[in-house]
Amino acid sequence: MLSIKNLHVNVEGKEILRGLNLEIGKGEVHAIMGPNGSGKSTLSYVLAGRDGYEVTEGEVLFEGRNLLEMEPEERAWAGIFLAMQYPVELPGVNNMTFLREALNAVRKGRGEEELDAVAFMKLIREKAEVVKLPEKLLKRSVNAGFSGGEKKRNEILQMALLEPKLGILDETDSGLDIDALRIVAEGVNSLRNPERSFLVITHYQRLLDYIEPDHVHVLAHGQIIRSGDKHLALELEEKGYGWILEEAAA
């Protein structure tokens, strides 16, 4: 589904990703772990198409299409969803309106019919239930005055609504207490299916207790230096990153 080959990315003239390779198959959950500054967030932004991330070498194919040539919204229509580490506030923009505009934009981009107001209301209530987002938050401005947990739940709600083929979670666990973490993780788990893949970027193993990955990769200095199964995450939890970094350097 997603194939990243020898990806090099500069941010403000500095090389952050240095030849990253990653293959994600249909229905797989991959976790990327790594120390601060290893390039985890850069990877998620490059995949989503944010400005300011210059690809100097390599390629990214998503279902056979050259992802790097697509605009951010085209990537969204194609099925890429990025749950952000710091969801942006949109003061004055009603959350419900935003969700409907986004859903209809994506549906349109996918050549599907737009949903009318009634069908949308029904759908959004169902989805909000899954992530336990209080209905009152649907009526407020997007993320404005939301707590950290509410913002992340709103992200997962959007993911549930837009039904991507690849969901990227960028440090979704940061700033969440254990209860919020569980709700978010349950939301993600409910979206797992054989057609949908996930890339879970995280600092800590904790999130992976709830969202069990098929593969775990360690990202350091802009490259994946070790891959394994879920046991690798546990090993990292126990021993830290130091030993892998040393081995990689050796």
Binding site: A48, G49, R50, D51, E71, P72, E73, R75, A76, W77, F81, L82, M84, P87, V88, L90, P91, G92, V93, N94, T97, F98, E101, A102, L103, N104, A105, V106, K108, G109, E114, S141, Q158, L162
Partner: protein, 481 residues
């Protein structure tokens, strides 16, 4: 929120209102002197007192100079190069129904999305369409007459209701008020007159669409709305102008008078041609709008959405004379390209317990310059008067400007004035977030802008709010990136 298809259509359409209707006009050659004024007055078959009023204003105007205090760059205006009268030729004695109206005029309105035929059927909106300088179609007159509401052109009112016109015309904006209002008093061509009698709630929203069509024809509208004791009226003003590669002067005067317990709600969507990207062409919009809360517990509310014109100079104001009277001003002003706007309001608190609210939303894009200028004056007798002002600016891009000039004068120690102001920018973070969720950049911008303007749009009547959003979307098309 408009759908993408709507937006695409609108974008393709460019400045949709930019067409010129071929109608034979009876146009006065350019120039301004006492003969011009006599000609206008004679054309309209006005009584002597009206002519005298105009001449008095003209003679005073000769002593005035153009104001230069606004935050605007204006090329000099040659008042002798303007034609002061233009009227479409009449069919017989004038149209008695829409069927008699020049089909081309009707077509013009249809292109502007103001189908009179449909509006007749659609409940609620009566239209007194001003095409160039003379009213050509008035609907719902009979229904209004049943309620005792007078809704006609100001020319008709001069003939049919001279006592009301004499009593109220110039009583809120005297001809000595300012340069442009004075010019208007001398040469005003036509406009609207509304009188709602005591205790009557006007059964429908009244609406006039203004349109400037003749090249070089200044348009000098005069509007006078009187709500007698306990009356209520909501009035909508909307306008577009065809594309012309030269500046057109527009200097309107609007006077509102609310007596005891009366309420007047006045809404404007203004979309006159703003000029091209380099600032060539476009309307000069110098308007004097003022409402007088003359009676106790009276209420005047201004709502405006200003997206057009090369230059906007406009301060819809309220004189709060009556005790417990209320004044409101809700404004969205958008400038892009080379547009300039200096707009705001004045709230004069004279009566006790008077209250005023000001909500101003300025949006600047491209090279647009947007200034809010507002005065809140608490007079010595304005016991317990209150004002709340909220003044927000939104910047799109880094070549535009937003400026705020609040003036506050308080002469009564019990009065309270609050002023809040913010300036924000549509951030790259916000746009990326929206695009990641599948929205195109321009849709994201229009969604954020609409959110920013929501408080003002909420004050507009439903159909106007829809039109205002649509306008905003077209106006800001391509403003980013």
């Amino acid at each position: 929120m408009s759908t993408q298809r709507e937006l695409d259509d609108l974008v393709k359409a460019g400045y949709e209102a930019g067409f010129v209707t071929e109608v034979e006009s009876d146009t006065l050659p350019p120039g301004l002197n006492e003969d011009t004024i006599r000609f206008i007055s004679e054309k309209k078959n006005e009584p002597e007192w009206m002519l005298e009023y105009r001449l008095k204003a003209y003679r005073h105007w000769l002593t005035l100079e153009e104001p230069d205090w606004a935050h605007l760059k204006i090329d000099p205006i040659d008042y002798q190069a303007i034609s002061y009268y233009s009227a479409p030729k009449k069919v017989g004695d004038g149209p008695k129904s829409l069927d008699e109206v020049d089909p081309e005029l009707i077509e013009t309105y249809n292109k502007l999305g103001i189908p009179l035929e449909e509006q007749k059927a659609l409940a609620g909106v009566a239209v007194d369409a001003v095409f160039d300088s003379v009213s050509v179609a008035t609907t719902f007159r009979e229904e209004l007459a049943k309620a005792g509401v007078i809704f006609c052109s100001i020319s008709e009112a001069v003939h049919e209701h001279p006592e009301l016109v004499k009593k109220y015309l110039g009583s809120v904006v005297p001809h000595t008020d300012n340069f442009f209002a004075c010019l208007n008093a001398a040469v005003f061509s036509d406009g609207t007159f509304v009188y709602v009698p005591e205790g009557v709630r006007c059964p429908m929203e009244l609406s006039t669409y203004f349109r400037i069509n003749e090249a070089k024809t200044g348009q000098f509208e005069r509007t006078l709305i009187v709500a007698d004791k306990g009356a209520y009226v909501s009035y909508l003003e909307g306008c577009t102008a065809p594309m012309r590669d030269e500046n057109q002067l527009h200097a309107a005067v609007v006077e509102l008078i609310a007596l005891e317990d009366a309420k007047i709600k006045y809404s404007t969507v203004q979309n006159w041609y703003p000029g091209d990207e380099n600032g060539v062409g476009g309307i000069y919009n110098f308007v004097t709008k003022r409402g007088d809360c003359r009676g106790d517990r009276s209420h005047i509310s201004w709502t405006q959405v200003e997206t057009g014109s090369a230059i906007t100079w406009k301060y819809p104001s309220c004189i709060l004379q009556g005790d417990d009277s209320v004044g409101e001003f809700y404004s969205v002003a958008v400038t892009r390209g080379r547009q300039q706007a200096d707009t705001g309001t004045k709230m004069y608190h004279f009566g006790r317990n008077t209250r005023s609210t000001i909500v101003s939303k300025g949006i600047s894009a491209a090279h647009g310059q947007n200034a809010y200028r507002g005065l809140v004056r608490m007079g010595p007798k304005a016991e317990n008067a209150r004002n709340h002002t909220q003044c927000d600016s939104l910047l799109i891009g880094d070549k535009c400007g937003a400026h705020t000039f609040p003036y506050i004068e308080v002469r009564n120690p019990t009065a309270k004035v609050e002023h809040e102001a913010t300036t924000s920018k549509i951030s790259e973070d916000q746009l990326f977030y929206c695009r990641q969720r599948g929205l195109k950049e321009e849709d994201a911008v229009s969604m954020i802008v609409n959110g920013f303007c929501k408080e003002v749009f909420n004050e507009l009547p439903m159909e106007f709010a829809v039109e205002a959003r649509k306008l905003l979307n077209i106006t800001l098309e391509g403003a980013v990136g």
